[in-house]
């Protein structure tokens, strides 16, 4: 009897152990996934490469070393996909994709592919190309302590701070040139949603709202682009408290084009905060209020709230401003996850 009981207890507890470890493995957090992807990537590198990729977490110079410009003009830290072998390259991309949502990673790939299209258009100019994107890590990939993953090149700067289960994407720069291209017969617009959703919102305004939202002056470029960290400008345009429920939902959906680049659980936390202060969020537009069907707008716009600055700035350079755009995504209170670090 006793022996039987012991056996039952043993087998039940063994079963429980297996089940719980299975559940635990399944419930692995996003951060754990990113950390293990980072460790896999680092282990594919030789010591010299690893040294080039890794920076101290407090390396402010590397932290701010990002730009919209091609990498030959502003050399980035870390190592480029070009300087990796196939295994390393796929591990690097797996790491970037582990930190991003599916939609976000797709956007990143389309921006990189666009640079390849640009390269071919510019007679194989070696300053462009989808392999000229650099990866760097600040601090030690950890599930507990803060660290940072950077990935970027021409028209792309992802600055991802990870602190425990929180993730912060600000400041991040996305851009596209050409903003519309064809690959294998498929039309691609890396930042098409950013453009279309903004125009749809503008068109959803009544005359009074439109008048407030549209600024009377020309904006030649981003106000808070690369190098302009830590600044909060006076917001302008139409405040979301003067919008109706549907318009506010459209605004939030537009914001998610940037916020949702990050992996789902971190993006959800971030969007919850942005949703909470949606009434304090402003939308301002400057430039033409129409666009050719299927093309990006040629107008500048800005979304600004207590924890948010988004800028969309078409660039005249290259001829057609609908084909070249820079965008900026910031949280003046939490760029580089500063708020997480002081908590």
């Amino acid at each position: 009897m006793n022996v039987l009981k012991m056996r039952t207890i043993r087998s039940v507890s063994a079963l429980a152990l297996i089940c719980s470890s299975l559940i635990a493995a399944r419930a692995e957090t996003a951060t754990a996934r990113i950390v293990s992807a980072a460790n896999v990537f680092l282990s594919t590198l030789d010591p010299k490469q690893r040294q080039s990729v890794l920076y101290a977490f407090d390396d402010e110079k590397q932290r701010a070393n990002w730009s919209n410009l091609p990498t030959s003009f502003v050399p980035r830290g870390g190592i480029s996909l070009k300087d990796m072998n196939a295994t390393q390259r796929s591990a690097a991309l797996a790491l970037v994709s582990s930190a991003l949502s599916r939609r976000g990673f797709e956007k990143v790939r389309q921006i990189m592919e666009g640079d390849e299209v640009n390269k071919i258009k510019e007679r194989n100019n070696p300053i462009f190309g989808k392999d000229l994107y650099y990866i760097s890590i600040l601090g030690k990939p950890s599930e507990k302590d803060p660290w940072m993953l950077q990935f970027g090149g021409h028209h792309l700067a992802l600055n991802i701070t990870i602190a425990g289960d929180r993730g912060v994407l600000t400041p991040t720069l996305t851009g596209a040139q050409p903003a519309l291209y064809t690959v294998d017969g498929k039309t691609v617009r890396p930042l098409g949603q950013e453009s279309d959703k903004a125009l749809a919102l503008l068109n959803a305004f009544d005359d009074t709202q439109r008048k407030q939202a549209i600024l009377s002056y020309h904006l030649a470029d981003l106000v808070l682009g690369p190098g302009q960290d830590g600044k909060t400008i006076v917001p302008e345009g139409l405040k979301a408290s003067a919008m109706n429920e549907r318009q506010r939902a459209m605004l939030l959906d537009m914001i998610s084009e940037w916020a949702d680049i990050l992996h789902e659980s971190a993006a959800a936390a971030c969007l919850a905060e942005l949703k909470a202060d949606i009434n304090e969020t402003w939308f301002a537009w400057s430039g033409p209020t129409t666009a050719d069907p299927g093309h990006n707008i040629t107008a500048y716009y800005r979304i600004q709230g207590p924890h948010l600055v988004i800028e969309y700035a078409p660039q005249r350079l290259g001829g057609d401003p609908s084909m070249h755009v820079h965008t900026m995504y910031r949280d003046p209170t939490n760029d580089y996850g500063r708020r997480l670090l002081t908590k």
């Binding site: 050399p75 002056y217 904006l219 030649a220 002081t342």
Partner: protein, 448 residues
């Protein structure tokens, strides 16, 4: 390597200038205005596009020698000043140059150079509504102007409206300034302090300081190891018996104060950007400092000079604190406020730790059991420090931190149990140290 890259980039550039990569035919002039009570600051970035850079360079490098001399910099700043007009309520303000920073001519030729120029002017301090107008006519034929205003730090200043013409060469800022009548200087000071505290998050910096010590176990371990022999006398070249309560307390106070002075100095210098040290050597030196104080706790290396050693290593620990503050990326004044808060946090946590250890140290040091605590504590600190030295030299991570941290997690329990043990030891008369006769001892080197 980076030189080769830069050179090849230049070659590439000179071969084929891509039309699409950067600014072309505009001279971007972006101004950020920041309004305080009694003062306005204009920060301008001027970036000539690649097609207009020769025009802009010709206006700067007037003697065409390919170098922007000090005189030419000054002259160009004067020219910009001349082309700007800033007025408050219709009367013109005198702009004063704060700083000007030029890129190289080569960078400008590529359309990448950014001239940074900062001006300031006085504003009224009174309680009233004001209209500030900035007009910029600098190189208006090729210019693309951007003007924006920062959200004022001072809660008494409220932006009412902004107006611009289409090119932004004309910019008007209407703002309201409240509560300026009573003692403007004091109010300014108050609002500045409030501004810093709010902006920096004084409370969070204070907590950061506390957490830094609570989690930065290496700092605490150094201090505690140095305090281990504090209640003791040196006889010959060995630690001997209890030196007396007064002596012990004074010695602990001296060591803690010296450590505080040391790390406060370098924390302040480092956080203000006056001193910069690479973090890895500093981390290694910190581990070395623990090893030194651990060895000293076993055999006196520098009896009587503990305070000097504490101050010296305090200087090194302070540099590590400074890098934590550096991570926050604060402005100069915010740093001053944050140094205060951070240091107070460090001090508070340090005092808590010392206060938790102090009773046990004083009570137990009167008994023979003290040498057990002293030597085992020193051995632990010594082992941890050697582990850290190796890890930090080889850039490894992990195991020592894990072990020490897991102990530190139970610090409250450890301190409590230690105190109970010390009470127990003390109540057993037969292990009271017979030599504990500090006042009669001929050796009082620590009181020199």
């Amino acid at each position: 390597m980076s030189k080769i890259l830069a050179v090849s980039a230049l070659i590439v550039l000179s071969l084929a200038v891509p039309a699409s990569a950067h600014r072309v035919d505009e001279y971007l002039q972006a101004t950020i205005i920041s309004v305080e009570r009694g003062r306005v600051q204009l920060s301008m970035r001027l970036i000539p596009g690649i097609a207009v850079s020769s025009t802009v360079i010709a206006g700067i490098d007037t003697n065409e020698d390919g170098i922007i001399s000090e005189t030419e910099q000054q002259a160009y700043a004067e020219r910009i000043l001349h082309d700007l007009s800033l007025s408050i309520d219709g009367s013109r303000l005198e702009l004063r140059l704060i700083s000007i920073d030029f890129p190289t001519i080569e960078e400008m030729k590529q359309g990448l150079g950014e001239i940074q120029i900062d001006f300031t002017a006085n504003l009224p301090r009174d309680e009233a509504n004001h209209t500030l107008i900035l007009e910029n006519h600098h190189q208006s034929r090729i210019a693309a102007y951007l003007v924006n205003c920062l959200v004022p730090r001072d809660p008494d200043i409220r932006v009412l409206a902004q107006h611009r013409n289409e090119q932004q060469s004309f910019y008007e800022l209407d703002y309201a300034q409240a509560g300026g009548r009573s003692d403007p200087l004091y109010r300014k000071w108050l609002s500045d302090v409030r501004g810093w505290m709010g902006a920096v998050g004084f409370a969070s910096i204070f907590r950061l300081g506390m957490r830094h010590i609570a989690e930065g176990t290496d700092h605490l371990l150094f201090l505690l190891a140095l305090l281990l022999p504090a209640p003791l006398l040196v006889v010959g070249s060995r630690w001997a018996g209890f030196a007396g309560v007064r002596h012990s307390l004074l010695q602990i106070l001296r060591v803690v104060t010296a450590f505080t002075i040391g790390h406060s100095i370098t924390l302040a210098l480092g956080a203000l950007g006056l001193v910069h040290a690479p973090s890895r050597p500093i981390e290694v030196l910190i581990a070395v400092s623990i090893l030194v104080s651990a060895v000293h706790a076993i055999l006196p290396l520098f009896p009587g000079r503990e305070s000097a050693i504490a101050a010296f290593f305090g200087l090194i620990h302070g540099l590590a604190f400074a890098t934590t503050l550096g991570q926050l990326g604060l402005g100069w004044w915010e740093r001053v406020a944050s140094i205060l808060g951070f240091n107070l946090g460090i001090e508070t946590m340090q005092l808590i730790a010392v206060a938790a250890m102090l009773p046990s140290l004083v009570v137990l040091s009167r008994t023979r059991a003290y040498s057990v605590l002293r030597i085992s504590g020193a051995l632990f600190a010594g082992c941890a420090s050697v582990g850290w030295i190796i890890e930090r030299l080889l850039n490894l991570h992990g195991s020592v931190d894990v072990i020490v941290d897991s102990l530190a997690h139970h610090a409250v329990w450890i301190a409590g149990v230690l105190f109970l043990i010390s009470l127990g030891c003390w109540s057993l008369p037969n292990i009271l140290d017979k030599q504990a006769t500090g006042s009669e001892s001929p050796w009082q080197p620590t009181l020199k």
